[in-house]
Symmetry: C2
Subunit: 233 residues, 2 copies
DNA sequence: CGACCATTTGATATGGATCAAGCGATGTGG
DNA sequence: CCACATCGCTTGATCCATATCAAATGGTCG
């Protein structure tokens, strides 16, 4: 990569420091100990746009944290259609799959930098450090939460799905009312279980009703958050 | 309850026995230490058909294990529709939600017996016993897996969803080729994001093509597993 | 037997898919 | 620097799977 931000290189993580600070059981906002461990132990890798990170069926042996860019996980169904599992943005951890083999493939949506760490290393840490173990659980629980939220999206109308997606992206992004989408219309369609045409039409319609603005096809300004939340039902 | 099978009552769980036996990282088939802990610590409670176990929005402070009967979790959407989150059968653990408050409600589908244990007790155990901590993670990961599988179902056709549901129930049940459904057509419809009419019509159609047999509306015989798997795409 | 509820079956409507074409931005070769 | 190919997106016309509305059937319990 050209502009490689130096990532703190691998090194032994101080472990067994016990429960240093109080945290409520269910604070999902951060999973810092694990995240720090990945920063310490992880190897920085760069992937080019559309480059494969791992493939459906391969053994699940690493954890990943996005540093820059964006990643999608996806699955090719028997009929050839593609279903996107999730989008991961900078700061997100992915690769936490339940089975021994990846149920989904992962690839870079745009040029991306990712930290990679072996699961076995994390599991060893977790056995010694309760904070890490709890983070591991939290991260999985958070992922579960996201998938459940999406499940609710998938039974709604096309407009509700698209609006729900936009609000989700806006919440995850930095800027409050502006979203820079790294993914194509096709990606969005495969994420929401719709066709590219329906996604496009919905965007146009939202523009017509002044709920959003589309300076470019990948940049979306949320004009009327309240109206959007109403449309998300 | 009338036929109350005696459940081993609460009692202190031996802890800190460390990693007694080897298990692969990803063995999701069992989570025995945690399951046993719930057996030891849990209070047996009985719920009647349609009785509320916990309600959407209430604090998430317990874990549950189904002893007999069946449980559904569900959510009432803004437009009044009901989405079912999951069905839990004997042996299943539920209540592992990510947030402080329940995103879903839970109720008994038929008369059910359930073990209830405080999450805080489990978390305390998990802090001392790595096996419990790992089980907690595994159980959450398994739940994640199930939800992801269902996500894939929800983007398919009505027939594929219904067949997928039947195969799932058959795998989880005891008898290989026969399923006794504890839930109504409406429950199934709300689980699959379909209408009750579509579910019913699909069942009739599967009967017509001799893929299944319907001795009663709640009892389903899988006549042709291979054909069903093909229909599930 | 009669009331009630779950399920099935029938007729019609519709949201989103599919098929098809046009448009705009980006990049390439002459 | 312009002509043109390519790719991602939008727009239009039609079709179809499933929802919706409506009614009949069947099973269960007092």
């Amino acid at each position: 990569m050209l502009t490689q931000t130096t990532i703190s290189p691998a090194g032994r993580m101080p472990i067994g420091h016990g429960a240093r600070h109080q945290r409520p059981d269910n604070d999902l906002s951060e999973a810092n100990d694990l995240s720090e461990a990945i920063e310490m132990l992880g190897d920085a890798k760069s992937y080019r746009r559309n480059e494969e990170i791992y493939f459906q069926g391969e053994p699940t042996d690493s954890l990943y944290k996005v540093i820059s860019g964006a990643v999608r996980t996806y699955k090719i169904l028997a009929d050839g259609r593609r279903q996107i599992g999730a989008f991961y943005l900078p700061g997100d951890v992915f690769g936490l799959e339940a089975r021994d083999d990846h149920a989904f493939s992962a690839e870079a949506i745009v040029d991306a930098k990712v930290l990679v760490v072996r699961r076995s290393e994390i599991f060893t840490l977790a056995d010694r450090d309760n904070d890490i173990a709890r983070d591991l659980w939290k991260l999985t629980a958070r992922e579960l939460q996201r998938v459940q939220d999406r499940l609710l999206l998938l039974v709604k109308t096309a407009q509700e799905r698209v609006v729900g997606f936009l609000l989700e992206m806006a919440e995850r992004g930095y800027a409050a009312n502006e979203v820079e989408l790294p993914m194509s219309r096709q990606d969005i369609a495969d994420y929401l279980g719709l066709t590219i045409e329906t996604v496009s039409r919905t965007f146009t319609q939202l523009t017509t009703t002044a709920a959003i603005e589309l300076p470019t096809s990948r940049r979306i300004v949320l004009r009327n958050r309240a109206a959007l939340r109403r449309l998300a039902s």
